[in-house]
Amino acid sequence: MWSPLLKPLEWLGKIRLPFMRTRTGTVVGGPREPDALGTYEWQAFLDARALSRVWGPHGHSPWMPFHCVTLFVSLEYMNYGIQKVIGPCAQDPWPLKNFHLPAWVDASVLLVVDLPGPKSAAVGAALAIAGCDLVCTFNNWPYSGALVKPEQTLAALLRYASLLDKKRTAYATPGPVAWLCDNTRLGNRPGKPGEFDNRYYIEDSIIPGPNYLRERDISKIIYITGPDIKVQNDIKGHLHFLKTAGLELYYAVALDTGSLGGPKPLNIEELKFSTTGFFRSSAGGFGAPVPHPSSGG
């Protein structure tokens, strides 16, 4: 009964205005927002290399091979107008102005900052200003309507880019170093056909092995989490392995006051994490449209 009534509407829906098809770009922050310094110097970092430089490991850092550039190079979209709306986020995702580096963060420490992307960026900025080296693990491509929203992280990276450029300091030692992770990376559900599925997990290649760490005088891993103290499933195996190999494992909490509470010993059970069902991009990182099931037999 409904079908004949719907046909005219279906037909109307197929009519296309011939003169314009709009872009469906991803919105990143606000182009009129100032950065953390209150300036518009963030515009100097709308370049993949420039932004990756301030957020990546120091020049001759041993951590360089672990730094992911995927999210940084997604900025290249903008140069040709695919994404017109881009800028820093309007507010601090975490009150880093109150931050003081705790005494327990010393040259023997590797921090895994595993918070929502923007918050990880803010904590990372505070740590970098205090001298921590940085490694970013943001390994997916943004896309309009995608399952994970790395554009929110990108907006925070832009907010602090000029601040880091001016204020970042360094230890003479490889540590302390902070791995910045987005704890929304695993998403809430798998992608459906036609959706852009950019969920990802922390790959083996992003985490150094125990010998590599020890040779650089790293003996403690401190997992920075939110007040809910939740360890993401994909990283449990890595942390368990490092602990089994003799590294000390702790957790600390990023408090809403802008400080880090802890550290306390972290006990973690070994967990097999399935890496199936994630969509790699052959340009590196993760993110691709979910294919429609074949209509073939």
């Binding site: 011939p18 314009m20 098809r21 290399r49 995927t70 040709y80 340009a283």
Partner: protein, 397 residues
């Protein structure tokens, strides 16, 4: 042909890779944490270089003539699995001399072998364009042949606004389009990037991308996906009005079914048939009645889809277990019309120090003339997106 180390220290090589990633948009330099760019060059003698180019130019002529024959015969296009939507666009196309093609030559004991042609979305521009400026100084006196960037610019259709269409969901396609957009912008041609779905063209108006008029289109979007678009009429009108690089008719040569079709029907003259048979492995449309032969001689066969890229749908019998092969053959038997069986051949490895790799010498032709190399090498003799990129250099007299 041999593999030689570049005269570069690890400290010099690291910044070159950074330059390749950021300036030349080669984002996939690392795959799974492994650097997929070798600090080596694939060195060809002058004679090998001339032979490779000459082979490709001759093959190109034969493929062109075969393609022309095919485009006149809808039944053959159906046989090749060309979607009806694409056939409509091909029917509307005005003759277009513009085109970028890459032939991958595999060395064997009996000379080059060309298992497929890449003329629909032939990737590798980034590395080809970067090879001279980045690695040219570290080649121990050898030379880079061709200049892809300059050849591309010299061969442009007329006009100051170019529409660059690509599969916007795929970062790997964006990296190819961006490097060309950089070149175009530098020479005063405005690049407008978008998905094929962003094209509009009224009955009387100009083709537009995102509402901006374009004088020509560069297409980096798989032809067989055009059936999913809802603006086919715009594409038909556009194909009739402005040049498209590469036109949709090039899909006729991209499909590996062509290799099987000329073995069934005399598509081209005897000389061309001999040439094509000499350089391409025996290929046949998958036949259910030959399943026993495929299963019984696993190591002698490869299974491929009519359309497939980056080795994503290729199964080489010699690289899989009997169980895996049986499963692949069974899958092909479910939809035989989209599968081909191709005779496997033995690629010859190149040795460089402790490395033993199987090269695929990628030869670019732009509008039929040599434009540069994009070569890869891998450990198994199956070139996928995980293969290593290796600079191609030519011995100088």
């Amino acid at each position: 042909m041999r593999l030689e180390a570049l005269s570069v220290t690890p400290e010099q090589f690291a910044p070159l890779i950074e330059e390749l990633r950021f300036r030349y948009h080669k984002w996939d330099a690392y795959v799974g944490g492994v650097l997929r760019v070798l600090p080596c060059a694939l060195v060809l003698s002058g004679a090998e270089h001339s032979d490779a180019v000459d082979t490709c130019v001759r093959l190109h002529g034969a493929f062109e003539r075969a393609g022309r024959q095919l485009s006149r015969e809808p039944a053959w296009m159906d046989r090749l699995g060309i979607p009806r939507a694409v056939q409509q666009i091909i029917g509307a196309e005005k003759p277009c001399p513009y085109g970028i093609v890459r032939y991958d030559l595999i060395p064997t004991a009996s000379g080059w072998m060309v298992p497929e042609v890449n003329e629909d979305a032939p990737g590798g521009f980034n590395e080809s364009i970067a090879s001279g400026p980045l690695f040219g100084a570290y080649l121990n006196g050898y030379a880079i042949a061709g200049d892809f960037g300059q050849s591309f610019l010299d061969a442009l259709p007329p006009g100051r606004r170019a529409g660059l269409v690509y599969a916007t969901g795929y970062a790997e396609d964006l990296q190819h389009v961006l490097i060309l957009a950089d070149l175009l912008q530098a020479c005063g041609v405005k690049p407008i990037l978008g998905s094929p779905g962003h094209l509009t063209c009224g009955p009387l108006g100009r083709p537009r991308l995102h509402g901006e008029p374009v004088d020509w289109i560069f297409r980096f979007f798989p032809g067989e996906w055009y059936g999913y678009l809802d603006n086919l009429r715009a594409w038909c009108r556009t194909a009739a009005r402005i040049p498209i690089v590469n036109p949709l008719s090039r899909l006729l040569r991209q499909t590996k079914g062509l290799f099987a079709l000329w073995r069934e029907h005399p598509l081209v003259e005897e000389g061309d048939t001999q040439l094509l048979n000499r350089y391409t492995p025996h290929t046949e449309f998958f036949r259910k009645d030959r399943v026993d032969a495929y299963l019984g001689q696993r190591e002698s066969w490869a299974l491929k889809k009519l359309f497939g890229r980056m080795g994503d749908t290729v199964t080489l019998g010699r690289l899989c277990t009997p169980e895996q092969w049986e499963k692949s053959v069974a899958e092909a038997a479910k939809a035989p019309e989209i599968w081909l069986a191709q005779h496997a051949f033995s690629p010859s490895p190149v040795i460089g120090g402790a490395r033993r790799l199987f090269p695929a010498l990628g030869v670019y032709l732009i509008n039929g003339a040599f434009a540069g190399y994009y070569s890869r090498a891998d450990e198994l003799g199956l070139t996928t997106h995980e293969a290593y990129y290796v600079v191609t250099a030519i011995e100088t007299p």
